[in-house]
Each structure stands twice: as C-alpha cells, then as structure tokens.
Amino acid sequence: MNFCLSISSHSKGQVSSIDILVSTIIFILIFISLRGVWLENISEAENGFYFSELQLKSETALDSLVKTEGYPSDWSISNVELIGLAEKPLVLSETKVSNLVLMDYNTAKDLLGLGSYDFKFDIISENPVNNVSVGKTLDANVFVYSVKRTVVYKGGFADVTFKVFAK
C-alpha cells in the first residue's frame, strides 16, 4: 500500500516538473523574441535620430554657405569665424569660393558645424571650367545625405551640391 502510494507521488511529481519546465521554456522564448523586437525598434529610432541630425546639419551648412556672406563679411582664411560664400543670397563670390578651396579641410568642417561628419562640396557650372570641388572623396558603404541648391556663380547658373557623410 505504502509502496503504491510512493510510485503514485513520484509520477505526479515528474509530470509537474515537466509542465513547469515546458511552460518556463515557452515563456523564455516569447520573452527573448519580444526583447529582440524591442531592441530592433531602439536601433531604428537611433538611426532615425542620426538621419535627422545629418539632415539638419547638411541643410544648415549649405544654406549658410550659399545664402550668407560669412563673418566677417570680407573674411579671409586668417580671420574667418563663419564661412559664407555669398555676395548676396544665392549669388556666390569668386574670392570666397577660392578661399574655401584653399582652406584646411578640418577647419572648414569645424566652421560648418559638422562635428564628426565629413563633407564634399561641389559647384557644377554651365561652363565646366568653372566647376569647383572641395572636401573628401566618398568612400563606399557610407551613409550620405545630399542637398542641392541652384546659385549664380561667375555670371551663370550653377548647381551646388553638399554631401555630408558618416561611416
């Protein structure tokens, strides 16, 4: 009688343990899946934030270049505080563009408020002789944000593109 009772208790105990084990494993699997989804969402939110940052910085820097005179208004490489290439909004000064070409890349990047991002600035004129390119060459596999404006340069229309990129 006692022996039978013993087996009965023993078998019930086993079933109970397996039930708990299975339910716990299922719970952990669901938890890990949900956690994975959550981490993926965080990663997407972070990417969205950095994209917005890149967008803000690119557009601010390019507008500052093509719409302002810079500071001081007759700036040179030795005294520049803010880089602006315009004689008036969207009309570029040849002297200031030349100054930008001659300027140290890291100084220009810093003055344009780009922080750790790199940039490439291109003026594509109707006459290719007037084309200008400043900045770094794009590497493969970089995240690029590109902004474009149409300006007047050396008496003709030109497209200005400003690419900001991050590795």
């Binding site: 009772l5 708990i20 938890f31 939110a45 408020g113």
Partner: protein, 127 residues
C-alpha cells in the same frame, strides 16, 4: 510510515528544483527587464536633450541665415547655455554647434524666447 515520508521527499526534491529553477529564471528575466527599462528611460532622456539641443542650435542658425530682421519664436524646454566664443548650445552634457554670431553668452531657463537677427548679430530675449 517510512515509505510514505520517503516518497513525499522524492516529490519535494523535484518540485523544489523546479521552483528554484523558475525563481532563478524569474530573477534573470526581472533583471533583464529592469536593465531594459532603465536603458529605455536613459535613452529617452539622452535623445530628448540631444534633440532639443539640435533644434535650438538649428533655430539660431536659421535666424542668422535668413538675414537681418528675422525673428523666430522658440519654446525652450530645457535649461540651456549659449556659449558666444565657442558658438555652441549646451544642454546637459550635449553641445551643438550653431552657425551664427550671438551678441553675448546666455543662460536660459525653460520658457518661450524670441531669437532675433539684429544686423547679423543674434539676440535672444523672452517673448
């Protein structure tokens, strides 16, 4: 009587092990969840401040770029410093560069401000 006690003991050991395992797993899950909640709040705080820093710096730059006479109303939500020499907005530990020349350094508390371009110099005043 002896068998009875012995058989109960066998069940108890298994149950005990199962309960211990469940408790250990629950503790692991709780700690992970706590870490996730903690990092969630920290991330929210970081991105709120960093976002505010970027937006305010952008507003200052915009006032400068759009030329003399431009006024922008800005609802500032964080304690903020504007560093004239460095041309930085500072909110908490975040620094954001703006493209403008402020007339002076500022220390601002949350409120609504007018950012004004006065002949190329940026002035900030309460609205």
């Amino acid at each position: 009587m002896k068998y009875k006690i012995f058989s109960k003991g066998q069940v108890s050991v298994e149950t005990l092990l199962a309960i211990i395992m469940v408790f250990v797993l629950l503790i692991v899950v709780f700690l992970q969840n706590y870490t996730v909640s903690y990092s969630n709040e920290t991330l929210m705080d970081i991105y709120t401040k960093k976002g505010e820093c970027l937006r305010f710096a952008f507003a200052i730059s915009k006032a400068y770029i759009e030329g003399a006479g431009t006024s922008i109303s800005y609802d500032l939500k964080e304690n903020t410093e504007i560093l004239k020499q460095e041309k930085f907005v500072k909110i908490g530990e975040d620094y954001c560069r703006f493209l403008a020349i402020p007339s002076q350094s500022y220390s601002l508390s949350p409120s609504t401000y007018i950012i004004r371009n006065n002949n190329g110099l940026i002035e900030i005043s309460s609205s």
